[in-house]
């Protein structure tokens, strides 16, 4: 059990040498830095994920992402998933270099769970948003090499300290800047079109079903004008990933419900070809 110099090796307890830190990322960077998300030799054709949208409704927030990943002018994947539950009450969607982004989401999920287990309580929603900001900032060097990752974060405040149940959306830039958004937001290559669509269709009085329809339609509009965003693929049965967070938890909207919404949207567009 002794190391060659005869000093005492505390075994597992070397993991508990900094009792002050509840951050898994801090721990990982000292215990196993090789496992941190990172790519040293960026290929010019690393797959990219594209459009993510999120919109609020009374009691919660909906986030949706298209299913396409592109590598240059090719479609790298038709059914990639870019929207995840970060924990029981928050959602995270990612646009940018897919491999790196998925790894950052995985690390972020462990980060939140780790904090909760060590401290016995959840972070506040603002705390979760700030933590994600600093992780994105940590990726800045790679963003400068063309491996940018831009997340969209949304969730419901359940911290008992605040006592409120407010849903919020946060956007980020590559430097880790964190910006609370009102009503709705979109990131990624098709975000310009998706945001224009949301601007006209989102209404504060919309309920859960109404907001789901609006975000799916925003992705439809993004796919219409942005080649890197995939539209709903009816022939293959591939629909956007749509997730909902409320104080009761997170859920993924089923493909059956989405199939109905997509059929409606396509019927509307067929009727009004100019829209």
């Amino acid at each position: 059990m002794s190391n060659p110099r005869g000093a005492f090796d505390p075994g597992l307890l070397r993991y508990a040498t900094e009792p002050g830190s509840s951050s898994f990322t801090d721990f990982l960077s000292s215990a196993a830095p090789g496992l941190l998300p990172g790519a040293t030799h960026p290929g010019p054709q690393a797959p990219h994920g594209t459009t993510i949208v999120a919109a609020l409704f009374a009691g919660g927030v909906v986030m949706a992402g298209d299913r396409r990943a592109t590598a240059g002018n090719l479609i790298a994947q038709r059914d990639i998933e870019k929207v995840y539950a970060a924990d029981d009450y928050t959602l995270i969607g990612i646009a940018g270099t897919a491999g790196l982004a998925i790894e950052i989401v995985r690390l972020y999920q462990v980060e939140l769970e780790h904090y909760e287990k060590i401290e016995g309580t959840q972070l506040t929603l603002d705390g979760k948003a700030n933590r994600l900001g600093s992780m994105i900032r940590g990726n800045l060097g790679q963003a400068m090499q063309g491996l940018a990752v831009v997340p969209l974060f949304a969730g419901v405040e359940v911290s008992d300290r605040a006592g409120e149940r407010v849903a919020k959306i946060y956007s980020y830039d590559v430097t880790g800047g964190r910006y609370p958004e009102q009503h709705y937001h979109s990131v990624g290559s098709g975000s310009l079109f998706a945001k224009g669509s949301l601007k006209k269709r989102w209404r504060p009085e919309l309920d859960r079903a109404g907001v789901i329809r609006v975000v799916v339609e925003a992705l439809y509009d993004a796919a219409d004008d942005d080649s890197a965003t995939g539209g709903p693929d009816v022939s293959r049965g591939i629909y956007p990933v749509v997730m909902v967070a409320t104080a009761a938890g997170t859920e993924r909207v089923g493909d059956d419900e989405l199939a109905g919404i997509v059929t409606d949207i396509i019927a509307d567009r067929t009727e009004h070809p100019g829209s």
């Binding site: 005492f8 075994g11 597992l12 307890l13 993991y15 995985r106 462990v110 769970e113």
Partner: protein, 260 residues
């Protein structure tokens, strides 16, 4: 001229064991048992904030008795080890057996190489897909590791009496309510005045389960109203004297933990 000091290895180990056992006996007891849906943890603990039972990973729970700062260090190290393994491999690759081994090695090393052994006894439990796959590991202050089939009791001055009492009450495949009643019955069978039973209200219990029917994370605490609803009706047995600090400082006499 001073005589060179000599103590046999046997004597040193015996002294350390006695020291650790004394420390552990100062606290109050914990029972970990299997039940129909998984593993049930019942700890006698008057504090809401300083837990004896906690979640380590999806299917793994942790219970400890003894000195709080020492087992809290072990708990944090366990959470870190589990999260690190789960992050670098897969969530399914985190097992109680590996964690229990790491704890056993650490405690064994501390026991033989440090001046003062850890005054803790811990249990690592894992819930399986079926009742046959549930696992309970008991790890002692000296690194001894035992795989317990049904239940285990640890900590406090009367562990043996509690274990014997629990043996009579334990029924394999019992529901949550029955299993909890058995644990509370066994814990409260000692410590009353003149060795009589006492009652343990919800406020002095820390209860948690690893329930195989839950989602990814199987650990759940029962607190407040949810716990009171599960507990058997009070039968009028008097409570013991107000319990003292869980682990009194070393310069204080251990004595009877339930004494005022």
């Amino acid at each position: 001229m001073s005589m060179p000091f000599y103590a046999s290895a046997e004597q040193i180990m015996r002294d350390r064991s006695e020291y650790a056992r004394k420390g552990i006996a100062r606290g109050r007891s914990v029972i970990v048992t299997t039940y129909a849906d998984g593993v049930l943890f019942v700890a006698e603990n008057a504090s809401f904030a300083l837990h004896k039972v906690s979640e380590i990973y999806d299917r793994i729970g942790f219970a400890a008795v003894g000195k709080y700062n020492e087992y809290e260090n072990l708990r944090v190290a366990g959470v870190r080890l589990a999260d690190l393994r789960g992050y670098s491999y897969d969530r399914r690759d985190v097992t109680a057996r590996a964690l229990a081994n790491a704890y056993a090695q650490t405690l064994g090393a501390i026991f033989t190489e440090q001046q003062k052994p850890f005054e803790v006894e811990i249990c690592v439990a894992e819930v399986g897909e079926t009742a046959d796959e549930d696992q309970l590991y008991r790890i002692s202050y000296d690194g001894t590791i035992v795989d317990e089939p049904d239940f285990l009791a640890m900590g406090g001055g009367q562990t043996e009496a509690i274990t014997n009492n629990m043996k009579e009450r334990f029924a394999a495949g019992a529901g949550l309510r029955e299993a909890l009643a058995a644990c509370v019955g066994a814990l409260s069978s000692v410590g009353g005045s003149n060795g009589a039973p006492r009652s343990l209200p919800a406020g002095q219990l820390e209860v948690a389960v690893l329930d195989r029917n839950r989602g990814t994370r199987k650990f759940r605490r029962y607190e407040g109203a949810a716990l009171t609803e599960l507990l058997p009706e009070a039968d009028g047995t008097p409570e013991a004297h107000p319990p003292g600090a869980d682990t009194p400082p070393h310069d204080q006499d251990a004595g009877d933990p339930s004494a005022p």
